[in-house]
Symmetry: C2
């Protein structure tokens, strides 16, 4: 193909001149309208794959500088994404934020962090506020109270893409990134059984969260499969009050039918469990074996070091953010309704 | 005083009408110009204390609705404050953020969190960016690398108020909120000495941070006062590499002149210290006593539970934010150049 037009190389031109001229040149070259070329360069769904391919090939050959990408970013108003999550004083979320930041920084984006403190009304208010165009996209991990998803749907409808991470809601059509909660819990419960536990209690907080439910079901499956007795008092529902949690765990460990294994599904309950065992002079792992979902940096120096189900928090943050940028960098593309599962790892230590 | 003018109560008026009318009424009443009254209501430094007092008294008597406050807030563009800090995967900072959030939420402000990851160039770039008016004020805890303060001064000069917290720079004229690092360190070192330690090592990371220096000086004072031998190899400089830190702490504890007490000035070094002691089969507290600056939630369940200098992280965040809002809510007032010190607490556990 010969160049049958001249590039305007001999005068000072602005970027936007350059962009326009090049699109015009490309359009002339290909016998297409400028609008079609522009849309093809932006990967618009209105243009056929064959036309896009032709335009891209010509653009490459003519050293076209794809200002479309930059201008698409320019049209986003804020260059900011929001992370809406329950808490930062938690190993999982604080590490996930580092993963999110690492990607946002590469892309030159700001990160707004909003804390819901497990309050559904607050989550709704925040998402409602974010409709205003303050941010280009949202990464969300829902509260323990979140039962319905209308507020998320409304935010999406207002044109703000949302990616869910860790605590996801299945019914929302978007990209979701989480870990294999069912399998991890199943594997941890099986591990306790292999180490000789015959009566395994399960500590949890939320009844609403999908991940809490998956962890519970994984535990139940292992217990059922191995023919262990399933006691109702072995399912201990904790809440956000440390005193309450201390009391119910103490009650569990003082009962005549005391468990000899505990699977702790929420990181902060590990501390309370250890404190109760210390107070009751129950020895871990001799009297009761303990395993927990946690990425505590201090897991290996606890008394005793605790067996953990270790979630890939940094990678979950990174992956969710990368998915969000896919949509922020391309206009007219919707986030695929898919779930990416990054597996957790069982790290066996002396508590089991 | 009788009301010698009529309030415009009998027509529908906008807020700004109301505000103007009331200021005019007040001005007439007091024989002052509207400008003077307006400035007095805004607590401007241009107006004398006596005049302000007269204006405020009349305003109160006439039930003047202080729209000046609301309009001052309206003139702020963003209703957002930024928190610039090294890290969220750290107990101190994650809890401090909760303190900051608690105040910002009351005030209806957004919180933007920027992480510097201890990188001075990043801190400079962030502060430079924040000059743009994206936020109304900044809460800053500097990086370990931050030696000079021009970037902070420049941000202040651009009209964005800055409050420093925890890791402060003395030379910056503004409000600063921190804890009593010198005294806490002194008290902790004295505690180790009282428990029988004769050779006390000190682990730190930064040489630049004022708080690191204060902690070091507190330790030195206690050691000097008690006439202990001051060994140069007892001052161990760690960095951000876990492997490096493990190696230097191991070297310290393998030396012929092994310390029998360690004061750990940075939370994350506690974990490494415990790991090295475990690996070398040194018993805490029998072979070596350990105390550390930390608000680990797991401090009480470590092996053994660790004696900590516990910083009031939530309160530091709260106080710094309250000071920032003092200036955000009043125009023409500068942040007082003062330091507020919230004391830490020594919590003695079995590691000493």
């Amino acid at each position: 193909m010969s160049l049958n037009f001249r590039f305007p190389n001999f005068r000072t031109i602005s970027n936007s001149d350059m962009s326009k001229t090049n699109i015009r040149a490309l359009a002339m070259q290909l016998g297409l309208s400028q609008g079609t070329v522009s849309k093809a360069l932006k990967d618009s769904y209105e243009i056929s794959a064959a036309t896009k391919k032709r335009v891209m090939a010509a653009a490459k050959k003519l050293n076209y500088v794809p200002n479309a990408y930059a201008s698409s970013l320019r049209k986003k108003k804020s260059k900011t994404i929001a992370v809406v999550l329950p808490e930062v004083a938690d190993s999982f979320f604080s590490v996930a934020i580092n993963g999110i930041e690492s990607i946002a920084q590469q892309k030159g984006y700001h990160v707004l962090i909003y804390l819901t403190h497990e309050n559904f009304a607050k989550e709704k208010a925040i998402l409602n506020e974010l409709k205003s165009g303050r941010v280009d996209g949202v990464l969300l991990s829902v509260t323990r109270e979140t039962k319905n998803s209308k507020h998320i749907f409304d935010l999406q409808t207002s044109g703000v893409p949302v990616v869910l991470f860790d605590r996801v809601l299945e019914e929302i059509k978007t990209a979701k990134v989480c870990t294999n909660d069912f399998d991890s819990s199943y594997i941890a419960a099986k591990h306790l059984i292999e180490r000789g536990c015959t009566k395994i209690a399960y500590l949890s907080i939320s009844k609403n969260l999908a991940i809490a439910n998956e962890r519970l079901e994984g535990y139940k499956k292992a217990v059922r499969e191995c023919g262990l007795l399933f006691e109702k008092n072995f399912l201990v529902a904790c809440n956000n009050s440390e005193n309450y949690n201390y009391a119910v765990i103490k009650k569990l460990l003082c009962s005549s039918n005391r468990p000899n294994g505990i699977l702790v599904s929420v990181e902060k309950l590990i501390i309370t469990t250890y404190q109760v065992c210390n107070a009751l002079q129950l020895k871990i792992p001799d009297d009761v074996k303990v395993a927990g979902f946690s990425i505590f940096p201090s897991a290996s120096i606890l008394n005793p070091p605790i067996t953990t189900i270790c979630q890939p928090a940094f990678e979950i943050g990174e992956t969710a953010t990368s998915l969000l940028f896919k949509i922020l960098e391309k206009r007219g593309v919707e986030l695929e309704n898919k779930k990416i599962v990054l597996p957790s790892t069982l790290i066996v230590r002396s508590s089991t």
